[in-house]
């Protein structure tokens, strides 16, 4: 096609990066969040299925101790505030504030990992005791992997934001990271109920 086509519009004025649903990464993040949410839902379904198989639940063991799981819950819910703040300042492309937010979020992330380690210690069961132990460990482990990946992502972004790699697109990455952290927290609330409350109800 050597003949130049008929141009209906010139798009030079369009921006080269945009936040939220206007960018592809936002949709990509959403896609992976859906995938992981499905995995959580299925693991939870397996939990209830196995619960239906046995008359006493948990069988033999006492339920996980309240303390660390609840600490985790409070910590995560509290982390929503700095997270949303970081999201807002990232939308405003405010580098100084974004740096603060990222440092804070990295600290909180590492803290949640420490708490998670204590949670495993307080489960009162081993994965190879019985089906209950197995599913409990898998649920907690599944969420732990999400914690680890997101904390890792946050740390890398923090480093980037203090180097010469600061570009408009980086701020989009920050907002997507915030979206993902919101998901990790939202996933923890029902999981917490499943692991700590349900065994005490039945």
């Amino acid at each position: 096609m050597e003949r130049s086509p008929h141009f209906t519009a010139d798009l030079a004025h369009l921006p080269t990066s945009a936040h939220g649903p206007r960018s592809t990464t936002w949709w990509g993040t959403l896609g992976f969040i859906l995938i992981e949410a499905t995995a959580f839902a299925l693991a939870a379904a397996a939990y209830f299925y196995l619960m239906g198989q046995t008359e006493t639940w948990p069988p033999g063991q006492s339920p996980p101790d309240w303390l660390w799981g609840t600490v985790q819950l409070v910590l995560m819910l509290a982390s929503l505030w700095p997270n949303l703040w970081t999201d807002r300042v990232a939308h405003a492309d405010d580098l100084r504030r974004v740096r603060i937010g990222l440092v804070v979020m990295s600290a909180i992330g590492l803290l949640t990992l420490v708490v998670r380690a204590f949670e495993f210690g307080a489960l009162n069961c081993r994965w190879d005791d019985n089906a209950y132990g197995s599913i409990v460990w898998v649920l907690l482990g599944l969420h732990a992997t999400h914690l680890i990946t997101d904390v890792g992502d946050t740390l890398v972004l923090t480093v980037l934001m203090f180097t010469k790699h600061v570009e408009p697109r980086r701020f989009t990455d920050v907002t997507d990271n915030c979206v993902y952290w919101n998901f990790v927290v939202c996933a923890w609330v029902p999981l917490w109920a499943l692991l700590y409350v349900v065994p005490r109800l039945v």
């Binding site: 096609m1 050597e2 003949r3 130049s4 086509p5 008929h6 141009f7 209906t8 519009a9 010139d10 798009l11 030079a12 004025h13 369009l14 921006p15 080269t16 990066s17 945009a18 649903p21 206007r22 960018s23 592809t24 949709w27 990509g28 896609g31 992976f32 859906l34 995938i35 992981e36 499905t38 995995a39 299925l42 693991a43 397996a46 299925y49 196995l50 198989q53 046995t54 069988p59 994965w127 190879d128 005791d129 019985n130 089906a131 209950y132 132990g133 197995s134 599913i135 460990w137 898998v138 890792g152 890398v156 980037l160 010469k164 790699h165 570009e167 697109r169 980086r170």
Partner: protein, 648 residues
């Protein structure tokens, strides 16, 4: 040369956008410089061009198709007569397991994704797939998983418990050794790849459509791939969860499937079929996309019932999740529940019926041209409808209780999968081969290919309906004489050989046409969708100018060339993002350059997955190289992009 040209060229040198200011040749040259994949092995390994990755996917998937086909022939040889001892039971069990696993996980799903990877960006008029590096990564992971499984098989560590790996047979006590662990990890590999591709396709379709391609103008093939990808997102996690549970039961002593410790064997079946049934539609819906793309071109009439077809796609995708239990009718579940799944399973016949009718109507109202692609589509209708109808029989609890796990079911799903997916697939190869390679496949060989394929298929699989009804169960390595199964089995084996001959003709046709095939123009079939608006094979940039879409078959509605938009950069990889519903131009987003990191990350993942077959600690130490790979992948390359040029 005069001073005026030189000054013109000088000024032209600073133009970094396409548009009237820059000549066609110059635009083309600059875009080529920007988008071309670097030459040599390194370039080959680091390519992120969706067309190259798509081609690799297609070729690899067909290699696995041939390998699994050879296994099928081995089985047919063993079963050609009663009490044959060509294969030991151990070998036979590995072979039928590898056949099913390879066909489902390494051929059917990947080949459909492969066509999506190649065609969707072209059909929606964009320059690259979304997340091209993730795309390259997914291919390497898929390749590693497939190769791992086959190497294991060659080393006599092939899985031997069926592609469905029912526990406890696949569990730690009755599946000694590593055979089933390789199966479970292969699942992890292929699901990671499939999920990545699903996300890419969804985002490409939603955000990267050419200006004017509003939802009601999306080609039906793209609709099919969109629905399929959404199904992948919700179905594949089920099999990843279940296969992880299986491998944990086998390696670290969890008790998910151990009844003595509160587990349950049926939990596996629920999780597996919650994936396994949608899987069938994940394979079938893209095939309907092939049909809906090919039929109008050879009926020379726009598809009838576009809206009905799109709605049917969504209905199928939705219902597909509601009927996994019909694989478990004979496990002793409550009968009331079962009859619900009967209704749901039969209900899926309604959208399928609507699709069939729309295709027949298109053909009826058109002026058919019987080229090879259309032959395969007609073969598809003849075979698939029969498979669908036997599916209605299987949906009935009483009938299923007789034919479940017999050769009747084998016949049924081969009619549905080969008829419903492989026939359209071959039609699609004949149809898009000119676009992929720039050369036509031989029509004459194509007719032979179709005839042998069609006759061989029906000879091979129709008798199996009867075999099942007269009592022949699935997955038996041998059968006694005198049950009346002998000559029907012989007939089936003969058919299988004819089918194989058809495949050979196909291979010969491809091999010959690659060298000597007629050179195809941009649009040899006179089709109406965007992939035919660019050259064959397409340039690495896909479209020199982003086209503007004015209808469902733009090339039919704009016989004298499509309008285009200008203003995208020619010195950097840039995509045009549009709005989700109306495809209004919205953002010019950069697209990544080639990178070796996806391959390195894939290797890290491979080490982690294979290592974890032998020790759970591999998950810990294997995650370190993986982390390195991912950081290298996402680390911005300095120097940062050249500054945005001023708007001319």
């Amino acid at each position: 040369m005069s001073a005026r040209d030189t000054s013109a060229r000088d000024s032209a040198r600073f133009i970094r956008r396409d548009g009237p200011a820059l000549g066609e040749a110059e635009t083309h040259a600059r875009l080529e410089r920007t988008w071309a994949t670097p030459p040599g092995l390194w370039g080959w390994l680091s390519s992120v061009d969706h067309k190259q990755v798509g081609r690799r996917y297609i070729v690899t998937a067909f290699v696995f198709f041939l390998l699994a086909g050879l296994l099928a022939l081995a089985m047919r040889m063993q079963l050609a007569g009663p009490n044959q001892t060509l294969l030991t039971p151990d070998r036979y069990n590995q072979i039928f397991t590898m056949h099913g696993t390879t066909m489902m996980f390494l051929f059917a799903v990947p080949v459909m994704e492969a066509f999506a990877i190649y065609l969707v960006p072209l059909m929606v008029g964009t320059r690259a797939i979304a997340f091209p590096r993730l795309n390259a990564f997914s291919y390497w992971v898929y390749l590693a998983g497939g190769v791992m499984l086959w190497v294991a098989f060659i080393l006599n560590v092939g899985p031997d418990v069926g592609w469905f790996s029912y526990v406890p047979l696949a569990g730690p006590q009755f599946g000694p050794g590593k055979r089933t662990d390789f199966w479970a990890q292969m699942v992890t590999f292929t699901e990671v790849a499939a999920l990545a591709v699903a996300v890419e396709i969804i985002v490409t379709v939603l955000k990267q459509r050419a200006p004017g391609m509003s939802l009601n103008r999306i080609p039906l093939f793209v609709w099919g791939q969109l629905v399929t990808s959404s199904m992948v997102v919700f179905a594949m996690p089920a099999v990843m969860v279940s296969s992880s549970m299986l491998i944990m039961d086998r390696l670290i002593g969890t008790h998910f499937f151990n009844p003595a410790e509160g587990g349950d064997a049926l939990l596996w079946q629920h999780l597996f079929w919650f994936f396994g049934h949608p899987e069938v539609y994940i394979i079938f819906l893209p095939a309907t996309g092939f049909v809906s793309s090919i039929l109008p071109v050879f009926a020379r009439r726009p598809i009838f019932g576009y809206t009905a077809l799109v709605l049917a796609l969504f209905a199928t995708g939705f219902l597909g999740f509601g009927l996994w239990v019909h694989h478990m009718f004979v496990t002793g579940l409550p009968h009331l529940g079962n009859s619900f799944y009967t209704a749901a399973s039969m209900a899926i016949a309604i959208p399928s019926g609507i699709q069939i009718f729309c295709w027949l109507a298109t053909l009826w109202d058109g002026r058919p041209r019987f080229a090879t692609p259309l032959l395969f589509i007609i073969g598809f209708i003849v075979i698939f409808v029969l498979g669908g109808l036997s599916g209605i029989m299987l949906a009935s609890v009483p009938i299923d209780s007789q034919v479940h796990d017999t050769y009747f079911v084998v016949a049924h799903f081969h009619y549905v999968l080969i008829g419903g997916a492989v026939f359209p697939l071959f039609g699609a190869v004949y149809y898009w081969f000119p676009k992929f390679t720039g050369r036509m496949l031989s029509e004459r060989a194509g007719a032979w290919n179709f005839a042998l394929f069609f006759v061989g298929f029906n000879l091979a699989f129709f008798p199996m309906h009867i075999l099942g009804l007269i009592g022949m169960p699935r997955r038996i390595y041998s059968y006694p004489a005198g049950l009346g199964w002998d000559d029907l089995n012989l007939l089936a084996t003969a058919g299988a050989l004819i089918l194989a001959a058809g495949v050979l003709v196909f291979l010969g046709n491809v091999w010959h046409s690659l060298k000597y095939g007629l050179v195809a123009g941009d649009n040899p079939w006179g089709a109406g969708t965007l992939e035919w608006a660019t050259s064959s094979p397409p340039p690495s940039v896909n479209f020199v100018h982003i086209p503007v879409v004015t209808g469902r078959e733009p090339l039919w509605e704009e016989p004298n060339g499509l309008a285009a938009v200008s203003g995208l950069r020619v010195d950097q990889r840039e995509l045009l993002l549009t709005t989700v519903v109306d495809a209004e131009p919205d953002v010019r987003e950069p697209s990544p350059m080639p990178s070796i990191w996806p391959l390195l990350s894939a290797i890290a993942v491979t080490v982690l997955f294979i290592g974890s077959i032998f020790t759970p600690w591999a998950v810990v130490w294997g995650s370190i190289p993986l982390a390195v790979g991912l950081i290298g992948w996402f680390w911005p390359k300095s120097p940062p992009d050249t500054p945005e040029p001023v708007v001319e």
